[in-house]
Amino acid sequence: MSKHNSEPDRARALQDASAWRVRLNESNSESSLAFEAWLSESPAHRDAWEAVQAPWELLGEHASNTELVALRRGALARAHRASRGRVSPPFWRRMAAAAALVLVIGAGAMAAFFWSQTMPAVYATQMGERRSIELADGSRISLDSSSEVAVRYTDDARLLELRRGQARFDVTHDVARPFSVRAGGQAIVAVGTSFNVDVSGPDLLVTLIEGRLRIVPQPRADQDSRRVREISMTAGQQLDVPHLQPPVVRSVETARAVAWERGQIDFVDEPLGEVARRVNFYSTRQIVITDPAVASMQLSGVVDTGDVDDFADLVSHYLPVRAETRADGDVVLSRAP
């Protein structure tokens, strides 16, 4: 098709198409009336657009490719260096909210290398304990009951690992030292500004409170890394990764996901079995459910963490369930006669 067009025409069309590509990207939109009009003007425009789109999309899809990650690191480091003395630190902090200046560790190998360098600092909580940790760069970790997080800071990376339980991360922005959290075994690298990660249940749950987040699934040993795709999240979304199943992204009320910081469990239309699991997370006295029909009953409410009796009261009040306290203090929930 393009052979009907002269060389200068093609060059001109390619330049226009490139300018459209850059402007649409800047406006965070994929089209406009003026662009559609330009595109429909001639086949040469459509050819030029396709030529521009192919490498543009390709690079986006392969953002975690090892070589591209190296280029991204280099670009971020040089931008950081160029800005020194001219751009004030608060500027960086403002930018944290505006853009996801994050760099993702594409391959597990790179993270493994950093972990091998020094011993990480490990913070842990007992059952029923909550703890807040301020890190050297001003970032904060709130650690829920029965949780453990390992932290390792190097000159060019902040690497964390949530080993069990649940934690909220509030990240101080530093473009030269990306902040990432590994959680859920080999599965996930997360990077962002304010987010909650929960590995206490069967599903890995990541809730984004503020800023942006990229989830980079760690390829399994038998997987080619370029075949694993990043997932981007925006504030108010939650990623749910069930064991060995495809993940789901949904919109949530973020306050509910971090209700534990106020010492509460907040649930809406959840099966009793799952709610009991969360209540048990905070208490040595356990809720025991053996009847699957009881475990699948749905309920909504807010309970204080560690208050097993309050929870048993609530349940037996609203559901056809009987609560019985055993001699060891555990509470057995069974169907009411």
Partner: protein, 179 residues
């Protein structure tokens, strides 16, 4: 419950259709495989527009309509990328093996691009001057705005835009030559 007079939904809907249907269909048809999907997405765009206050004013709708359309596509792509997670991508040149969740990914606009193409893109990137390449990478892969990049490097926004256009054009040119 305000009693304010509103233009009827039919009138608005007809006006939106007359003005945006063609461009929207053209837009979606480049992104999805099936005409019915493009139809659905166009209708969904109108439905969202009509549900928003911007719909009453066609001029503000113009700024809004492709944002809505873009977001619809992104939601859809996200759902599919999530669904496609850990699903092995079929080998190049073996389209029969394509799994359900990935079919949509290969929209007409996106050629099936593999390892060789990525190598080509990386080579083209490396041919660029360091500054041009860095600016392109920050805008394309780190989601930085031109204003932010300009502030970092102490450049004007229009200079940053020129770097970006030059990089984009160079990549497209190298890609075109290989075909």
């Amino acid at each position: 419950m305000s009693a304010e007079p509103k233009p009827s939904l039919e009138t608005l809907s007809a006006a939106l259709n007359a003005r945006f249907r063609g461009p929207l269909m053209a837009f979606f048809l480049r992104k999805v495989r099936h005409r019915e999907d493009a139809e659905d997405l166009t209708q969904e765009t109108f439905a969202r527009l009509l549900a928003s206050p911007q719909a009453a004013d066609l001029n503000s709708a113009e700024a809004f309509v492709f944002k809505v359309a873009t977001n619809l596509l992104r939601d859809r792509a996200r759902r599919q990328s999530v669904r496609g997670w850990q699903v092995p991508v079929p080998e190049e040149g073996n389209p029969e093996e394509t799994s359900e969740g990935l079919v949509e990914d290969r929209a007409p606009e996106r050629v099936l691009l593999g390892r060789e193409e990525l190598a080509l893109a990386l080579r083209a990137l490396n041919e660029l001057g360091e500054r041009t390449r860095d600016i392109f990478i920050l805008a394309r892969l780190e989601n930085m705005k031109q204003k932010e990049i300009a502030a970092l490097f102490g450049l004007s926004v229009s200079t940053v835009e020129k770097h970006l256009i030059r990089a984009t054009q160079h990549l497209a040119k190298r890609f075109g030559e290989s075909e």
